[in-house]
């Protein structure tokens, strides 16, 4: 288990950050959708506190991820049409931007509402506004909400593209980010065509012939 990524596979560091953040983001999103219509009660406050704590965790992990990305390499690009590579880059950038801006806008909304901000009840974080700010509160909330729906779109595009690579293109894009599955040795991840002899088993068991990538 290599901690760092290599030419063909994301390392344990990148994979752990990717999936841990995926779980936390999806969890925060579901809790966020559920919580806002609850009548005010200590239970609602606890659910909000959980949402905020998870959001802050995502923010902290994102900073760690930026640092890790500087220290780690990226695996080589899976061969794909230029427009797809460009699309992937745009969606990745959007995801990074939203992973930063959603927790920050939530923090701003919380501060502008004049509420305390605790991380899992352990310590408090400072207000970004130094007290309630009713005008900013509305703006921050809109940003948080529209940002969330943009994140949903970006996540659907990201996960949809990964599944398309896996199911239609049958390449390594998804597998090399998964924690357990082994690489599909049959399909080249580098620009050179893989020798067919390298994967006789895959070729034999697969009902469909292994597709060559359209762009070599």
């Amino acid at each position: 288990m290599a901690f760092k990524s290599d030419a063909n596979r994301w390392g344990v560091g990148a994979r752990t950050l990717h999936w841990l953040m995926a779980l936390l983001i999806i969890g925060a999103g579901i809790v966020g959708l559920y919580m806002s219509d609850l009548p005010n009660s200590p239970q609602k406050i606890r659910i909000y506190a959980l949402h905020k704590s998870v959001g802050l965790t995502v923010l902290a992990l994102l900073l760690l991820r930026f640092v890790w990305r500087l220290a780690d390499r990226r695996p080589d690009e899976v061969p794909m049409p230029a427009w797809q590579a460009m699309g992937a880059r745009v969606v990745h950038l959007l995801l990074y931007a939203l992973m930063l801006l959603l927790p920050l806008s939530g923090w701003l909304y919380n501060s502008a509402s004049g509420y305390p901000l605790q991380w899992f009840g352990l310590f408090n974080l400072p207000s970004l506004t130094g007290g309630a700010d009713p005008a900013l509160k509305g703006v921050a909330h809109e940003f948080h909400e529209y940002g969330f729906w943009l994140l949903v779109v970006a996540l659907v595009a990201h996960a949809g593209a990964a599944l398309k690579h896996h199911i239609v293109d049958r390449d390594d894009t998804l597998v090399r980010m998964l924690p357990l599955l082994r690489r599909r040795a049959a399909v080249p991840t580098s620009v050179e065509p893989a020798p067919v002899a390298a994967a006789p088993a895959a070729a034999a068991t697969s009902a469909e012939p292994v597709k060559e990538n359209p762009i070599p």
């Binding site: 009660s41 200590p42 239970q43 506190a49 509402s113 004049g114 305390p116 009840g121």
Partner: protein
């Protein structure tokens, strides 16, 4: 006989006037506690206090305070909305709180007022720490007390969780006396 009675009456009136203070509108009555690990505070903007206080005559000292609890303001509309409800002050049923002293005494150089406080339909004995400072013709009186909010049913039901809202609420008052 008649002039003597008049003198006696004036003397009584005079001594009463010396310790019956008029509370200036600039006086404040605040409360504070902890919510989610952070201090919150508020004030009662409407209250009246009858203060009779003279360090030389503590036996006749009296503090009688009427508080319009519906004037509570925390600066946060959400908190204020909750205070109004039945789990907290229940403005509709219990718009007033009342403190009256039973004894004022000196203890270790500081003044202490024992008395009873009624909030909602709960009446409990409380003790106030007083800091009385005569200044010229007037005086200032700083009052401090720590109340257990649950003794008075303030924040009941699920809100009774003191890890969310502290059980101890500090009440402070700065009275400008004339």
């Amino acid at each position: 006989m008649k002039p003597l009675a008049l003198i006696a009456l004036l003397a009584v009136a005079g001594s009463a006037q010396a310790k019956d203070w008029t509370v200036d509108p600039s006086s404040t009555l605040n409360f504070a506690g902890t919510y989610q690990g952070e201090k919150f505070g508020g004030k009662f903007t409407k209250f009246t206090a009858k203060i009779a206080l003279d360090k030389a005559d503590l036996a006749n000292a009296k503090l009688d305070v009427d508080i319009d609890v519906t004037s509570a303001a925390t600066g946060n509309a959400d908190y204020d909305g909750e205070l109004k409800g039945s789990a907290f002050f229940d403005y509709a049923k219990f718009p007033k709180a009342h403190f009256v002293s039973t004894a004022v005494k000196e203890s270790g150089g500081a003044l202490i007022a024992d008395g009873t406080l009624q909030i909602r339909d709960k009446t409990r004995p409380v003790q106030l720490k007083l800091d009385f400072k005569p200044a010229g013709a007037g005086a200032t009186l700083d009052v401090q007390a720590t109340l257990k909010r649950l003794d008075f049913d303030v924040g009941t039901g699920d809100w009774a969780d003191t890890s969310l809202i502290s059980g101890d609420i500090t009440v402070t008052s700065h009275l400008v006396l004339k």
